[in-house]
Amino acid sequence: MITVKNISKSFNGTQVLKDISFGFEKGKTNLIIGKSGSGKSVLTKCIVGLFEPDEGEIFYDNRDFLALKSKEKKDLRKEMGMLFQGSALFDSLSVEENVAFPLRMFTNMLEDEILERVNFCLNRVNILNKNNLYPSELSGGMQKRVAIARAISLQPKYLFCDEPNSGLDPVTAIVIDELIKEITDEYKMTTIVITHDMNSVLEIGDNILFIDNGIKKWEGSKNEILNVKVQELHDFVYVSKFLQNIKPK
């Protein structure tokens, strides 16, 4: 479980996050949703330590992340996996080398064991016989799946996904969503997904945090989101005509 308490963050005098508190539950797909520029990515970058919040606390299963020493933070980071918006695969490495990278860097596994683990992770995300291709030779959906394979190669406890289905066609987007959900259930991970895609919200949103202009406006689950009374969230959810038509009376 990851808990954030009273997180605030400013950039050059502009407050991007204001006093956000939330609990991201273990074994669930936790979603951070909101419009572009609402502070979703900044919150996630604060949680993974890419930004340091101005105020607040972050707990990884009762470990105070901001109070940890550099070495302890590094050890904790080995328990994290992250899927970036643009996949962030290393261009100069092949698919196999990308997935093997964390294993080579942080474990003392033998090459045979590394290869076995890499193949297991690639099979898990349905990437077959693509080990020697480079990221530029893969489609967007495949890149995302390889990035998921890399993120899970060290069997992380915490998985972060920054807009995992942006730039993908609706079919591939659902495949990626389902994959994230399956992996979360299978490995009992604490998964945090940033998204503004309502399909994803309704598909995998076990536990949802809605942010508007850096302020937490609502929390709940996919079952509650369609009946919500908060105006900002209502406007966010029912922006499309299709959803307006199926809106519960």
Binding site: K45, V48, G49, L50, K73, K74, D75, L76, R77, K78, M80, M82, F84, Q85, G86, A88, L89, F90, D91, F101, P102, R104, M105, F106, F160
Partner: protein, 246 residues
């Protein structure tokens, strides 16, 4: 200005943190030696050979006098190549080739969040990406410059052979004359090269790693890397010459 200098010093500090795994870093170091040095040999050999050739023609034309022996041309070419042309001019060319490549590589990695990915994994991204570049260049650039000196002399020799502007044996005699100071000159040239290698890779890495913005900023970082590396090379050249040759 002071803020940038502080960030540059901090970057250098992070390079010397203990690597997560020596084997992975060593593999990266070998890769950088090939990328920065071995892949520059072609352009360096072409440039050096033509510099040597042109120097022979210019020197021979400038000192056409019965009072000055022909081997002076060879001696002048040797001194010019050893002291200035190979270490400084070739380093300036490497600043253009290697510097822009480093800045654009790191800049692209920054824009596509590959550097963030390394940080989230717990990898010291500066140590992993920049450390091997600096160490690799400190190792390979002196070899490249020595190679450049050889090709410079060869270029001059070929001009003498084909144009007979001076006899080849006189050119070789000039190259070999007053050799007692050769060690001092080579040491001076290679010391300069090591300093220039450090400046090129560290300054270019700084501009790439701390890039802000999108793909347009990558081009700007690349240009800044070449401009600032060149300025600092020329500045360091003056300081080192003052310190080592006077």
């Amino acid at each position: 200005m002071i803020k940038n200098f502080g960030k540059y010093i901090l970057m250098l500090y992070y390079i010397f943190h203990k690597p997560e795994k020596f084997g992975v870093y060593f593999k990266r170091l070998s890769h950088e030696v090939i990328e920065l040095g071995v892949k520059s040999l072609f352009i360096v050999s072409i440039m050096s050979a033509f510099m040597g050739a042109v120097l022979v023609i210019q020197t021979a034309t400038a000192i056409e006098s019965a009072w000055i022996p022909d081997y002076t041309v060879g001696f002048t070419v040797k001194q010019s190549m050893l002291l200035e042309f190979c270490p400084t001019i070739i380093s300036l060319i490497l600043a253009g080739k290697v510097g822009s490549s480093i800045a654009s590589e790191l800049g692209s990695m920054k824009v596509t969040e590959q550097i963030d990915a390394l940080e989230v994994m717990g990898v010291n991204s500066i140590g992993y990406l920049i450390g091997p570049k600096i160490l690799g260049s400190l190792f390979i650039f002196p070899i490249v410059i020595t190679y450049s000196m050889f090709f410079g002399f060869m270029g001059g020799g070929l001009v003498c052979y084909f144009t007979e502007i001076i006899p080849v044996n006189q050119y070789i005699l000039g190259i070999r004359s007053f050799s007692e100071d050769n060690f001092t000159f080579i040491r001076y040239a290679l010391t300069k090269t090591v300093v220039f290698a450090f400046l090129i890779t560290s300054i270019s890495s700084y501009f790439g790693y701390y890039l802000k913005g999108g793909s347009l900023a990558v081009g700007k970082a690349s240009t800044n890397a070449v401009v600032y590396s060149s300025i600092f090379i020329l500045f360091a050249n003056y300081i080192l010459t003052q310190l080592m040759l006077i």
